[in-house]
């Protein structure tokens, strides 16, 4: 046995510290007993009332979501007050009686009433929404008869509305209810069931900035559910931040109305100097106002099953062969690699096509263009010239140039769901795709040289490439928001055509002629007051008539807008390009409005 001897501790001291500990235990447990006695015996009445009637209610003060404003401060996403009628947990019979009395004033169908009663029975302890978006009269109808509807609640909420609706659906996006998986995700900490969050477009991309933080207030309610007094502890809501967009609402509206009816496609306009996106429209579209907070199932199913895929933003996620709009890019790669200069001519004049082995590669003009140099071949979009240019450049050099421009990458735009382009970066990729002997380098080279073959780009990607041509600098990353201070330089992408001034001037000259010279492919839609540079494109595709492309910029010597337009199957045999007038109108409208603003 261990006998400890502490010379300084007497028996008296030992019994003192034992007594001290005994007293401490007695005080602690005695104190707890007294405390529980006072709560459970003394104040039990008050607490029982609180418990049985659940008289304390936490009422969320919803934070106003940040607005979306266009480049001139006009509202593109708004919060509109609306009333939401919901049912608190309560007896089922009382609920169905209340619905019986309210069926007419609330305009509920028999089927809707039956569905609500079933939902109430299935989820006895949850709040269920009877009518979202009720009118002031419907709210008043219930409030005037308050005692009859103790378990119905009417809340003033702000419903998200989109003044442009379908005209800006893909850019702005819409709100949807948070899912259970998202609620479990720590990234969505602070969100509550039923909360709406951005589901697409800028609403989704800038969710954090827009959402704000809900507040809460505590109220004591009577048995009828009416508030008898406010309890302390209110936490004010913190509204979300507004988002200032680079979009021009007028231009957006114009794109919507001018887009060829019943055609799919996309059009985008951006400022080549800053990358600010002025307009971005994808067709077919959908009305975002119908989507907010629970889109009706039939509409949703319709959107999902539509073979035209209206939910797809073709500007950032479309994948199209760029066709002849890619020729200036090939020309730039060739000039940069020293394979050609603006005056270079090749052995074969264009006679409507060029044979390769036992195959015949056609030019779009079967009567032939005759002798061409790089500039005239661009103006008239001669395929035969570009087959030979591709051959002179060589496949390796072409792929290297494409890799330098990140043609298999993204533009970096601040929108969700952007898809990268497709472009093989090495011959090894061809080997992988077709097997080592399964492809012919010359065929691949010829196809890629005229924007066909293993090359697909989004509409925005083409606009970004042309922005580099327009300014002679690395293209900026496209941006829909003007968040940073005015002094911040735009973020540049790696896409830089890197031409010396003479080469660039010749290329731009060719694109000016393509629009403004009577032989040019876009001559019909030249602008009266501005010199526009641009290139049409006809993209062959297996799905039907060729797609119609136009990418260009204006004014040609001092570019303020780059526009890229694509209309799916928009260039039927023997007819004109549908993309060109669309792009021309957008450019004209924008430059006119800039002029007017400058005059003011």
């Amino acid at each position: 046995m261990v006998v400890a001897v502490n010379g300084r501790m007497s028996e008296r001291e030992r019994s003192q510290r034992l007594t001290g500990a005994e007293v401490a235990l007695a005080v602690l447990f005695g104190g707890l007993t007294v405390a529980f006695f006072s709560i459970q015996i003394g104040e039990t009445g008050e607490f029982s009332v609180l418990a049985s009637e659940n008289r304390v209610r936490a009422v969320a003060i919803p934070a106003a979501r940040g607005l979306l404003l266009d480049r001139h401060g006009r509202v593109m996403a708004d919060n509109t007050p609306t009333y939401v009628i919901s049912s608190q947990p309560g007896p089922l019979q009382e609920f169905s009686q209340a619905l019986g009395q309210l069926r007419e004033p609330l305009g509920l169908s028999e089927a809707r009433v039956a569905a609500l009663v079933r939902e109430r029975a299935d989820r006895p302890f949850q709040v269920i929404v009877v009518l979202a978006g009720a009118t002031f009269e419907q709210m008043a109808h219930i409030e005037e008869r308050r005692p009859r509807f103790p378990n119905l609640r009417v809340d003033l909420l702000h419903r998200r509305t989109y003044p442009l609706g379908a005209a800006a659906a893909h850019v702005v996006g819409y709100l949807g209810e948070i899912t259970e998986e998202e609620l479990a995700d720590p990234a969505f900490a602070g969100y509550v069931p039923g909360q709406l969050l951005g589901r697409n477009g800028l609403e989704a991309r800038y969710e954090r900035r827009l959402v704000g933080r809900d507040g809460v207030r505590y109220v004591e309610v009577n048995t009828l559910g009416a508030v008898v007094r406010e309890l302390p502890g209110t936490v004010e809501a913190m509204p979300g931040q507004d988002l200032h967009l680079s979009i021009d609402m007028d231009l957006q509206q114009l794109a919507h109305s001018a887009f060829p009816r019943d055609y799919a496609g996309g059009v985008v306009g951006l400022d080549p100097r800053t990358g600010e996106v002025l307009v971005s429209y994808s067709s077919p579209t959908f009305d975002t106002n119908l989507m907010v907070g629970g889109v009706p199932q039939d509409i949703w199913d319709g959107l999902l099953q539509d073979s035209q895929r209206p939910l797809l933003d073709r500007v950032v996620a479309g994948a199209y062969p760029p066709g002849s709009t890619f020729k200036p890019i090939v020309a730039a790669i060739a000039m940069r690699a020293g394979a050609a200069d603006p005056g270079t001519e090749f052995d074969h004049a264009c006679a409507g096509g060029l044979p390769l082995g036992n195959r015949y590669f056609r030019c779009w003009d079967s009567s032939g263009h005759g002798r061409m140099n790089l500039v005239s071949a661009l103006v008239e979009s001669c395929n035969v010239y570009f087959y030979q240019l591709g051959q002179a450049l060589g496949l390796e050099a072409l792929l290297q140039g494409a890799a330098g421009l990140a043609l298999n990458g993204v533009t970096g735009v601040d929108l969700p769901f952007e898809q990268p382009g497709n472009f093989p970066l090495s011959t090894a990729e061809f080997d992988q795709m077709y097997g080592e002997r399964g492809w012919n380098p010359t065929v691949a080279e010829w196809n890629l040289s005229i924007g066909q073959g293993e090359n697909t780009q989004s509409v925005l990607s083409m606009a970004q490439l042309y922005a580099s041509l327009a300014t002679g600098r690395p293209a900026p990353e496209p941006r829909l928001t003007r968040l940073a201070g005015a002094g911040d330089p735009p973020r540049t992408s790696g896409r830089d055509l890197g031409l010396i001034p003479e080469q660039r001037a010749a290329l731009i000259g060719a694109l000016v002629d393509a629009v403004n010279h009577p032989d040019g492919t876009a001559y019909e839609h030249r602008l009266d007051r501005w010199e526009m540079a641009g290139k049409t494109g006809t993209a062959q595709n297996p799905a039907g008539e060729p797609h119609s492309w136009f990418v260009g910029f204006a004014p040609a010597r001092d570019p303020k807008i780059v526009v890229a337009a694509l209309v799916e199957h928009g260039h039927p045999e023997g007819e004109t390009h549908l993309s060109v007038p669309l792009a021309a109108r957008i450019v004209e409208e924008y430059l006119t409005s800039m002029e007017q603003m400058a005059a003011r």
Partner: protein, 409 residues
């Protein structure tokens, strides 16, 4: 076995009986806590707790056979292992707060092992011969015990698990108190901890610093100059560490402390929990709403029903009578532990049992008190009742050490 040993065996029956009763009641409460009206995932906590209880009983019987001499010998090794595990869990920890170690079959919280190891190590160091030389007035003889408690405090604080970290300084105070340290010595040793809290406001910290300084001059015992300076430096250091340490806490932990100071601060988050717990307990009245029938709990208004707020279920469903029974059983058990440490005196066993008693008391009182807002919500579990295997193991190990001490005394 001596006659005395036999009488202690009868005592063992009582101790184990009360502990088992509390544990079985605990499982019943955990079962009830799972009975709610909202659809949740199938709730088998009570089954797992029953398995843990069986394991804990096994541990009790095993540790009961280990002599105090062996415990004393193994203490440094156990302490070293638990410190290593605490470091390990900082890097590889899983679960909420990252304070668990994944074992494959389940999770294990090394801070519970550290509590036991620290108790044994403390008991060993404060009963060393040089720590208790007659007439020794040096403060420095408490350096080793202070370091022994300090290391796990810091490591657990880093997890950060504020509630458990609090326990280690308490163990030190208990050991010093039980071995008869002078109250002023205890004050000086604990002063840096107080400084840590006071450091939140500079002038309060200044007043505290002045009090410590004055106690050097005016008290019946005086420190050596170097020791006084060391105490003051430690106070300055912890006072300066307060703000950075506060900023390192997770927001929910800051909330819990602030809500204790001002319950209306966050009425939807942490404050809401407290309000709901009080409403549940208050509505229980004298006889409760009936076992498994508490409406607040059934509607899932009660937060953390299996762990932090398990006693709210007792209060709501069993009423004041049930609460009083639980409080009485706890008091009975703790008082029995106090008796054992009194018999064993300031020997290794006596100090160990007193420290364990202090730890269990703190857990019980803080956990029960926080359900009605008397203490901040620190996440300390309620012995025998809260769901959680590591802590149940610790509790029964503590009882085993106590029983062994009783048998050897």
């Amino acid at each position: 076995m001596t006659a005395r040993g036999t009488s202690e065996l009868v005592g063992e029956g009582q101790t184990l009986g009360v502990a088992l009763l509390l544990s079985l009641l605990g499982i019943a409460v955990i079962y009830s806590a799972g009975q709610v009206d909202i659809p949740t995932t199938p709730d088998r906590y009570w089954v797992r707790q029953a398995i843990w209880l069986a394991l804990s009983l096994g541990a009790f019987l095993a540790i009961r056979r280990v002599s105090l001499g062996l415990l004393q010998w193994v203490a440094p090794w156990l302490y070293a292992i638990s410190v290593l595990l605490l470091v390990f869990v900082l890097v590889f920890g899983v679960g909420p707060g990252g304070s668990w170690i994944e074992l494959g079959v389940g999770r294990f919280q090394p801070s519970e092992l550290a509590k036991m190891a620290t108790v044994l190590m403390l008991a060993k160091t404060v009963t060393r011969r040089e720590a208790r030389r007659a007439g020794d007035r040096r403060l420095s003889r408490y350096a080793k015990p202070t370091l022994t408690a300090g290391i796990p405090t810091v490591l657990v604080l880093l997890q950060p698990d504020l509630g458990s970290a609090m326990i280690f300084p308490l163990l030190l105070l208990a050991a010093l108190y039980w071995t008869g340290a002078h109250p002023l010595h205890i004050l000086w040793i604990s002063s840096p901890m107080v400084g840590l809290v006071a450091g939140a406001t500079w002038w309060i910290w200044g007043i505290w610093f002045g009090v410590v300084l004055l106690s050097f001059r005016l008290g019946p015992v005086r420190p050596f100059l170097s020791e006084g300076v060391a105490v003051l430096i430690a106070n300055a250091a912890t006072g300066a560490a307060t703000i950075p340490l506060w900023n390192s806490l997770r927001p929910y932990q800051q909330d819990r402390l602030l809500v204790f100071l001002d319950p209306q601060r966050d009425p939807r988050g942490a404050g809401w929990n407290l309000i709901q717990s009080q409403v549940a307990i208050g509505s229980g009245g004298a006889f409760g709403q009936g076992y498994a029938a508490g409406p607040q709990k059934r509607l899932a208004f009660l937060p953390e029903r299996h762990t932090d707020f398990v006693f709210s279920v007792v209060g709501e469903e069993l009423g004041f009578v049930g609460v009083a029974v639980f409080l009485f059983l706890f008091w009975l058990l703790l008082r029995r532990l106090l008796r054992i440490s009194a018999v064993a005196g300031d020997s290794f066993g006596g100090v160990a049992v007193f420290c364990l008693l202090a730890a269990l008391t703190a857990h019980a009182v803080v956990n029960i008190g926080m359900t009605i807002g008397l203490f901040p919500v620190t996440g300390l579990p309620l012995p025998f009742v809260s769901y959680g295997g590591s802590f149940l193991l610790f509790t029964f190990a503590a009882l085993a050490v106590a029983q062994r001490t009783a048998a050897e005394a």
